[in-house]
């Protein structure tokens, strides 16, 4: 009995002290974060925005620069495309800013977890490249197949769940970066020119090829190959019929069974390691992965192919739950994003910025000429991390911006038959 009372007493005293301290702490903490309208400006330093996305643009350098320029915190989480989709669709409260691709947007938007942005609050809206607004790079260009960004770029109003067909003033994603993808090769191990997508299944590279295991992107690369081989004719590679999917997967399953592929990759780092180690000498690849391989001093080329590029675009979307001070901070972040520093940072890795002209201010003339205009480098081209990527006299694989983005054959897409495609893709992986 006595023991009980003593322990009870001790416990209660301590608990009061602890509870008190915790309550005070909580009060201070919550006060600072939720804030009062009158002291917004001072409080912006305490704002933390949680951003997640694929590894390509979720860079700590960006978060550091945000802290310097805007004063608030940006927390970055990098995930693979599937995980990004999953998180955007199922955990709306776990993020403030979603850095996703346009095809993911098509999947995720109907869940209502994102809110559209008022374009009148976006300073550089008028300077955003036409691909994201009308779908045309230049007034004369054709619109490529697949989920072209402008088709899922706008909605009618703040609460609309279906996409609008033209510019409306409510944007689903603010475009950040985009690029034209092709096959990456190790020229030193191949030793001859590569010109067509068909080379991915060339028996010459048996056991040394790879394709990415993200179904919605992998199927497009597969389609580019099958079309180039003349085996399958597609109505729209971005929206295949069941029959087209079956044919495509049959060709790839056969190649897999014959040992064409060394491995499949799912994340950026895996593709870099496969290429750098020489396990694979030809594979689907993303531009910065090439940069990463090159910066290890290993020759690697992002080979332009005659059938054209498979292109993708990413943008940042705002979580439905953002409001008040955080929403203001998010708009400020977006404006800063399009203001050029990030654009320059990403363009020096081989991506394109949605507003190229602002990025120009943050790049040297040599860099701008090399990366954007397709000119010969006049001096060393270095990545933002200081690695030398090209020497004077080199030109960029594929040439100038208009040349590369003008040769896009299709965009990453979500198809009407997506579920069927996914099942077939799984069978291919398991085969």
């Amino acid at each position: 009995m006595i023991e009980k009372t003593v322990s009870k007493k001790g416990f209660s005293r301590r608990s009061i002290l602890k509870g008190g301290a915790a309550a005070t702490g909580a009060a201070i903490g919550s006060g600072a974060v939720s804030g009062f309208p009158t002291i917004w400006a001072q409080n912006i330093k305490d704002v933390t925005l949680r951003q997640f996305g694929t590894g390509v643009s979720n860079l700590n350098e960006v978060a550091q620069k945000v802290k310097e320029d805007l004063g608030f915190n940006l927390e970055m989480t990098a995930l693979d495309s599937d995980a990004v989709t999953q998180r955007a669709a199922t955990q709306p409260d776990s993020f403030d800013i979603a850095d996703i691709e346009y095809w993911i947007c098509k999947k995720v938007w109907p869940t209502g977890n994102l809110q559209p942005m008022d374009t009148s609050k976006i300073k550089n809206y008028d300077k955003i490249v036409g691909i994201f607004k009308s779908g045309k790079l230049t007034p004369e260009s054709d619109i490529a197949q697949g989920t072209a960004p402008h088709t899922v770029g706008f909605v009618d109003g703040p609460d609309s769940k279906s996409f609008a067909t033209e510019e409306t003033g409510w944007m689903t994603l603010i475009p950040t970066i985009y690029n034209a993808d092709t096959l990456g090769i190790r020229p030193d191990l191949i030793g001859r020119p590569i010109e067509s997508w068909t080379e991915l299944l060339n028996p010459e590279f048996k056991g040394k090829a790879s394709i990415l295991d993200i179904s919605s992107i992998g199927i497009m690369d597969a389609a580019m190959v099958c079309e180039a081989m003349g085996e399958v004719q597609y109505g729209d590679k971005g929206n295949m019929t069941r029959e087209e999917i079956d044919k495509t997967m049959a060709i790839f399953t056969e190649a897999k069974k014959n040992g064409q592929f060394r491995a499949f990759w799912k994340t950026f780092d895996e593709s870099v390691n496969l290429m750098a180690s020489g396990e694979v000498i030809i594979q689907s690849m993303w531009s910065p992965a090439i940069t990463a391989v090159k910066s290890r001093g290993i020759p690697c080329v992002y080979q332009p192919l005659k059938e054209g590029y498979r292109s993708w675009g990413g943008g940042i979307g705002l979580s439905k739950s953002l409001s008040g001070l955080e929403l203001e901070a998010a708009y400020e972040y977006i404006n800063w994003y399009l203001d050029g520093w990030v654009g320059g940072f990403l363009m020096r890795q081989g991506y394109y910025s949605a507003v190229p002209e602002t990025s120009k201010n943050f790049m040297s003339e040599n860099e701008w000429g090399y990366w954007f205009e397709g000119k010969e480098a006049t001096g060393d081209i270095t990545s933002p991390f200081g690695d030398v990527l090209a020497k004077a006299g080199d030109t960029r694989d594929g040439g100038a911006f208009l040349e590369r983005m003008g040769a896009v054959a299709c965009w990453n897409a979500v198809m009407d038959e997506n579920q069927y495609m996914v099942r077939k893709w799984n069978e291919f992986i398991a085969a």
């Binding site: 989709t85 390691n273 997506n418």
Partner: protein, 311 residues
């Protein structure tokens, strides 16, 4: 099962406590039963909340429907129908069982040998402890790290291949060392052998040495002693180790993904792919089938040895 063991324990404790006789008068037999139940309550609660409820949830969701981006309550058999009619399912389950069987056989062989060496050849207790701890040192690092470190080792230009080439064993690098069934099983064996060693070593240490002396005195050869005395007495340990290894291998997905370069599939990968694509009901259905398979395997194993009796 847990309830029973726990209450048995308490009964035993009560008996020993009753012997002194003084405090026994105060206690009533009813309170024994009540306290037994109370003592088993926390464990039962934990199991209900963290095991039984989630499993029920999985079973329920496996009958739901799904769209691209959402799941909705329903009672449909689509998920099972697709699963059980797809030839891929069978080949993947077959592959999973194949991995489990091969890994089991190898870990058993290696694990038994190590345990036998530790228990019967190492004479001093100190050395037994030292060597046993040595076995556990790899477990100080994460098993993902232990697994991934095989990749550069086995690669086309890896240490294994360059060693073989410089020794003149092969002329060209061996491709099958990495991203193949071989590398998957190698990683499994590496990761899970200890789960076999520990329980087998434990049961071996409890074998009465006089039994072995008796066998020797009765003229049994070393091999006869092994098969007629040691092996039957270590069965419970073997069985526990087998259950560990088989359930771990059958439930794994990450080892298969990394070591096969995403080229091979087992049931775990099927589930993880479904989850990645937001197809939770389909993943749940696969999980239910996998659970049933594993339970059948374990039930079969338990028919060979009555673990509760042996312990």
């Amino acid at each position: 099962m847990t309830d029973l063991t726990v209450s048995n324990d308490t009964d035993r404790k009560e008996e020993t406590r009753l012997q002194p006789g003084v405090s026994a008068k105060v206690r009533k037999p009813v309170s024994d039963a009540v306290s037994g139940w109370l003592m088993s309550l926390p464990m039962a609660g934990v199991l209900v909340f963290f095991l039984v409820l989630p499993i029920i949830m999985i079973v329920v969701v496996s009958f739901w429907g799904a769209t691209e981006f959402s799941i909705y309550p329903a009672f449909v058999f689509d998920n099972y129908e697709f699963l059980l009619t797809s030839p891929v399912t069978y080949s993947v389950f077959l592959n999973t069982v194949k991995y489990a069987l091969i890994t089991w056989a190898l870990t058993l062989g290696i694990g038994f040998t190590i345990a036998y060496f530790l228990a019967f050849h190492v004479r001093s207790l100190t050395w037994q402890i030292v060597l046993f701890l040595l076995c556990t040192i790899p477990f100080w690092t994460s098993n993902i790290i232990r697994m991934i470190s095989w990749i550069p080792f086995l690669g086309r230009n890896g240490i294994a291949n360059s060693a073989l080439i410089s020794l003149g064993v092969v002329d060209e690098p061996l491709d099958w060392l990495l991203f193949s069934d071989f590398s998957v099983i190698l990683a499994f064996v590496h990761l899970y052998t200890l789960f076999m060693v520990v329980p087998i070593f434990n049961t071996m240490m409890r074998i009465d040495r006089s039994l072995i002396e008796a066998a020797y005195d009765a003229g049994a050869s070393g091999f006869q002693t092994l098969t007629n005395v040691v092996l039957p007495l270590t069965k419970p340990g073997i069985m526990i180790g087998s259950i560990f290894v088989i359930t771990l291998v059958m439930g794994d997905f990450i080892t298969v993904r990394f070591m096969s370069g995403s080229q091979k599939a087992n049931v775990g990968r099927l589930i993880s792919n479904d989850i990645a694509l937001l197809q939770y009901p389909s993943a749940a259905a696969t999980a239910v089938i996998l659970l049933i398979t594993v339970l059948i395997v374990i039930a079969t194993l338990l028919r060979f040895v009555d673990i509760r009796k042996e312990l």
